[in-house]
């Protein structure tokens, strides 16, 4: 899976979780950039990403995630295992 495809799929997940089709995420996107992305929705987002890529994220990934770039890296790491 190349980077473009990865970000496209991630974007789909974001649009779905936050009910907003206008969302466009990039590597530098952080929680403050997306309306509604707080600690309560964080887990919903994580689980949606897990479902989309058929992976399981570790607590370490959940807690230390700072931006979408981190998320993308983690997804890549887990899917290539």
């Amino acid at each position: 899976m190349n980077t473009n495809e990865l970000y496209e799929r991630l974007n789909m997940v974001f649009c779905d979780v936050f009910d907003d089709d206008s969302i466009k995420v990039g590597a530098a996107t952080v929680a403050a950039d997306i309306d509604g992305w707080d600690s309560l929705m964080h887990i919903t987002l994580i689980q949606a990403v897990e479902d989309e890529f058929s992976i399981r994220l570790a607590m370490k990934d959940v807690v230390s995630l700072k931006c979408v770039g981190d998320l993308a890296e983690t997804v890549l790491a887990r899917t290539s295992k």
């Binding site: 600690s39 309560l40 570790a58 607590m59 370490k60 959940v62």
Partner: protein, 487 residues
């Protein structure tokens, strides 16, 4: 020994600074810090210092085992379980055994003798810190500390041991071995410490005296206005005392090269309860988020609940139902953490309820309201929360709430006099609940560079002035409550 005490400010701290800055290398400096921290703790609790060292030793060993057997399918999980059981067990025995037995008696009608164990100071803070350390090692977030004394330094550091902030090992792991000290940092630390001291000694203690008069009065003597006034000053006392202590802790850390995260961010300017809890006792909220809320939400149990709910009731229910369950548990625990008394659990669930309601629909509603109403909503909710917090004996709460809303109570003609004679003080106190200093600073820096230089220059005379005022207060004051004996 308390930070806001003459012994600490004029004896312990100067000795600490001198010994630290005279030390030739990091090892000596760390040794000075550990010895003085253990001494500080033992000053108040000579035997419980051993409990502290034991709790630290346990998690030290646990984490080394986790590290050694990381690839083993069972051992790491087992060690985390051991850590959880022992740390919470220690907390349970020392803090909650009285409550457990008396509640058991109340429910069953039996009469077991209720244990009255003295609560070791800071136990709620350090058990949470050592537990978070073990879990962080399990999560592979930070390398395990191979030197027991360095771990002990982290746990026993007197800055944050007694009243927080709850510092994570991963935040200061690097600083244990590599600390930068220079005049700027020392000066910044002293500044922060003096600000915290002033908040505590000048503002909090004064509010506290007023609060004791009104909150402690027999409910029949209170009028609606005086009941609200009592809540108002009590809320401010708690904010200035607790945030002042955090300021002192952060300032102390700075003086020795440690950088702890902020614990308060002007909570009273919040516009929702959810926002308030991102600004009040931040280190506790984030502890419960990382170590209770997230694990619960990611657990097999709640995932299954979520999937079932989604199938039966739709996507939103699939998200909301597990979140509501997890939030309820977290807020029950948060309430419980604050004290071994059921009113604290009610307090926790009270805030949990507002957070849940805001998440479900209240936030959207609030967004449509004018800003002033949103602030008023938050202030009222928070003040009533403080009311619940105050009445450890919950039977006192309902009559008080009654008076708050106009039922019962007694006319109190003196309330206007009290407010009048304290009006300047109260205005200043309210002013400092807002980020007036950061705003002033930002405005000033925007104006011209000379302004910024002026601010920097004013720090030292201002600190000296505040220190002199605080010393005068402390010399003359008999009312200097220490509110953290319950933790």
């Amino acid at each position: 020994m308390v930070f806001s005490g003459l012994t600490f400010i004029y004896l312990f701290l100067p000795v600490n600074l001198i010994l630290y800055y005279l030390s030739k290398n990091q090892t000596w400096r760390n040794t000075v810090l550990i010895c003085l921290s253990l001494f500080f703790y033992a000053w108040g609790e000579p035997f419980c210092v051993l409990l502290l060292m034991f709790s630290t030793f346990l998690d030290y060993v646990n984490s080394l085992i986790i590290d050694r057997y990381r690839s083993h399918p069972l051992i790491p999980k087992l060690m985390v379980a051991v850590s959880v059981i022992v740390n919470l067990g220690i907390l349970g025995i020392f803090k909650y055994s009285g409550l457990i037995v008396s509640s058991f008696n109340a429910v069953t009608g039996l009469a077991f003798p209720v244990p009255e164990i003295a609560l070791p100071i800071g136990i709620s803070f350090y058990t949470f810190q050592t537990l978070s350390y073990t879990i962080d090692i399990y999560r592979d977030e930070v390398p395990a500390q191979r030197n027991y004394f360095k771990l002990l330094l982290y746990v026993s550091m007197f800055h944050q041991l007694v009243a927080g902030p709850i510092v994570r090992y991963s935040h200061i792991a690097n600083e244990i071995d590599h600390r930068q000290t220079n005049m700027a940092e020392l000066s910044s630390g002293i500044n922060r410490f003096v600000i915290g001291l002033a908040k505590k000694v000048i503002i909090a203690n004064t509010c506290g005296q007023l609060a004791t008069t009104y909150m402690g009065a027999p409910v029949g003597n209170l009028s609606t206005a005086s009941a609200w006034f009592g809540l108002f000053v009590y809320s401010m006392q708690y904010y200035f005392d607790f945030s002042g202590y955090s300021d002192m802790a952060i300032g102390l850390g700075r003086m020795f090269g440690f950088h702890y995260f902020e614990n308060f961010n002007y909570p009273f300017i919040s516009r929702s309860v959810s926002e308030y809890w991102r600004r009040w006792h931040i280190s506790l909220g984030s502890w419960f988020k990382d170590y209770l809320f997230y694990p619960l939400m990611m657990s097999q149990g709640l995932r299954k609940v979520g999937k079932a709910a989604k199938t039966r009731f739709g996507k939103r229910a699939g998200t909301m139902i597990p979140t509501v369950i997890a939030l309820s548990v977290v807020w029950f625990a948060t309430g419980m953490w604050h004290g071994a008394s059921w009113n604290y659990v009610v307090w926790g669930l009270y805030f949990g309820l507002f957070i849940i309601l805001e998440m479900l629909f209240l936030d959207k509603l609030l967004e449509r309201l004018p800003r002033l109403l949103r602030h008023a909503y938050l202030i009222v909710v928070v003040m009533i929360g403080f009311g619940i917090f105050y009445f450890e004996d919950i039977s006192g709460l309902l009559p008080f709430l009654g008076v708050l809303f106009g039922m019962g109570g007694h006319a109190d003609p003196t309330i206007m006099l009290t407010i009048g004679s304290n009006i300047f003080f109260l205005i200043i106190a309210v002013l400092f609940c807002t980020p007036v200093m950061p705003w002033l600073r930002k405005w000033c820096i925007g104006k011209d560079a000379g302004c910024e230089a002026f601010i920097e220059m004013m720090h030292i005379p201002l600190n000296i002035l505040l220190l002199v005022i605080c010393t005068a207060y402390l010399v003359g004051q008999t009312y200097n409550p220490f509110m953290y004996f319950r933790f």
